[in-house]
Structures are given as C-alpha cells and as structure tokens.
Point group: C2
Chain length 140, copies 2
DNA sequence: TAACTACTTTATAATTATTCTAAAGTATGT
DNA sequence: ACATACTTTAGAATAATTATAAAGTAGTTA
C-alpha cells in the first residue's frame, strides 16, 4: 500500500508513465527534477553530482542514466546538445526557444518568436516542431 | 617554390588562413572538403573513413581532428550537434537552417525562413546569429 | 648543402560521456 | 515464505575526442 499525498503525485506519476516503478532512488531523482518552481537544464553528470553531494548513500551513475532516459522517452524531459558532445536535458518540455551564450543556455518563451515565412516539410513528412537558437556574443 | 594553379587556390588558402601549412595531408583533406559542387555535412569519423578507404598510406586520426578543428576555428567549417554525442561539421558556413529527420540533416536556405517577431538580446549582449531547426516526422 | 629550428604526423595512451553486464538486492503476487 | 520479475550497483566496455611524445619533414640561414 502506498502513501500518496498530492505533493508527491506529479513526479511519481511521471515515473509510472515512463514505465518505471517508483523506487526510492527514482522518486528522489524525479522529485529533484520536477518538484520545483522553475524548469532548468542539466547534464546527467551535473544531476548526479548535485544530488549525491548531499547523500550519504550515493545513487549510482547507471540509475541516473536509466531514469533520465526513461523520463526522456516518455516525454517528461527534452534532450538537446551543445557543441561539446554532452547531452543536456530540459525539464521544460513545452516547445520553446533558446539563447546560447558561450555554453550557457537561456530559455525563450515560445510566444516571443513568430514566423513570417516557413518552408513546407518534404513530401511524406510533416513538421513535428520548430525551434530557434539565437546565438549571442558580447556587445563589443 | 610552390606550383599553385587556380584550381588549388581556394582550399589551400583556407588552410593558410587557418594557420596551417599546406602539407600533403592537409591539402588532401581540404580538397576533399571544399573542392566540390555542393556543401555537405560530416563527422570526423566519416571523413576519415571515406578518405582513407581509397588511400594506401592512411592519414592518421589526429591529423583529421587537428585539421578540422583549425578549419572550424578559422570559420571555414561550422560545427553542430545532434543528440548522439558526436560533432558534425558543415561545409556550408553561411547562416542557414535545418530540417532534422531522425538523425538526417537537410539544409534550408536562409531566405526560406523569415521572422515576424524576435526577442532582444539580454543587456550587454548582441545577436550573433539565428538558426532554426525544424524537426520532421513521418506523415502518419 | 649542412645544420638548425620549428612545425607535422603518427601511434598510442588518456580522457570523457555513455552504455553494457552480471551479480546482488528488493519488491510483488500467490 | 517462494518464485518471479524488476532494480541497483560496481565495474567493464565502447565511442568520440584530446593529449603526448617520438620520429619525420620543411624552411631558413650560413
């Protein structure tokens, strides 16, 4: 029998809908990711370090990778890549845009960018989403 | 003294302007990359394999990486990343857009997309470029 | 040309992010 | 409690990339 208060519900459901039993480790990861005010970006390594720092009993690397993957496959996380061969994950899964500023990533709300002209998808294909990256540099 | 006909000039100059002496290996790489009708995308591994396949004396991995890096730093190649922890390079350095279709990348000419609304750069920053990725999926 | 210096290439080792594996642990259903 | 299936973990394996250091090559100077 599970104790399930409304506070836990959201992030535990994300595990369930990812096909993952809500074990202790997974619940803590999901809570860390989703039980907060603002969405954020992270790498698996960063996630592991920041979570394990405070823990006496560390969660293993493989569990972080497995959990993040399952959450991503179920659509609870969005993956993106910078130019450093590392996968980044975004807890904001709504389609949105980004500023890239020397490896730093800043979200741009979807409604801040609109298009005048967009190409058609090649035949047999359709557009899944459209995302814009605005690369920044220092003013001078 | 160098023999230098007009056919070689462009890609040898790209080496020179990247701070690289035009050695045999580098000239062959630069020729392979730039002496062709259409621009294309590649990974270093792909480049190495396709070039070395035809050669009896193989060019080393390190030389491919060094040369591609220098060309990229000088702005003769553009780097981008998919979600598989590999760097891709594009011989088309003009700002342009892409369709991403399950790991396949198709160029979209810059003038095919125009914006109605774009956000301002954060203060102290300015916009270097704006690039769009249109993700595709099969029609049904 | 010979000698000197600086730059290159190469094989190989090291590193980093990620995935795989297999054993030990835990949970669930009967 | 037993059996089965799912989890966690440490550590090995893999893949892309970068670093290292020795041997090779080119360019310069005398």
């Amino acid at each position: 029998m599970h104790k399930m208060n409304s506070k836990n519900k959201t992030f535990i459901d994300k595990l369930r809908s990812s096909g993952l039993r809500p074990t202790n480790q997974r619940v803590e990861i999901s809570k860390f990711l989703f039980n907060r005010k603002k969405t954020f970006h992270f790498t698996v390594e960063e996630l592991k370090n920041s979570m394990n720092l405070k823990r006496s009993k560390k969660i293993s690397t493989a569990t972080f990778y497995n959990t993040v993957h399952a959450l991503k496959s179920a659509g609870h996380l969005k993956e993106f890549s910078l130019e450093n061969n590392t996968s980044y994950y975004d807890t904001n899964i709504k389609s949105h845009h980004h500023f890239f500023d020397n490896g730093k990533v800043i979200d741009i709300r979807s409604d801040k960018i609109t298009f005048q002209k967009l190409p058609d998808a090649p035949k047999g294909k359709k557009i899944k989403n459209v995302e814009v990256v605005i690369r920044l540099e220092n003013n001078n």
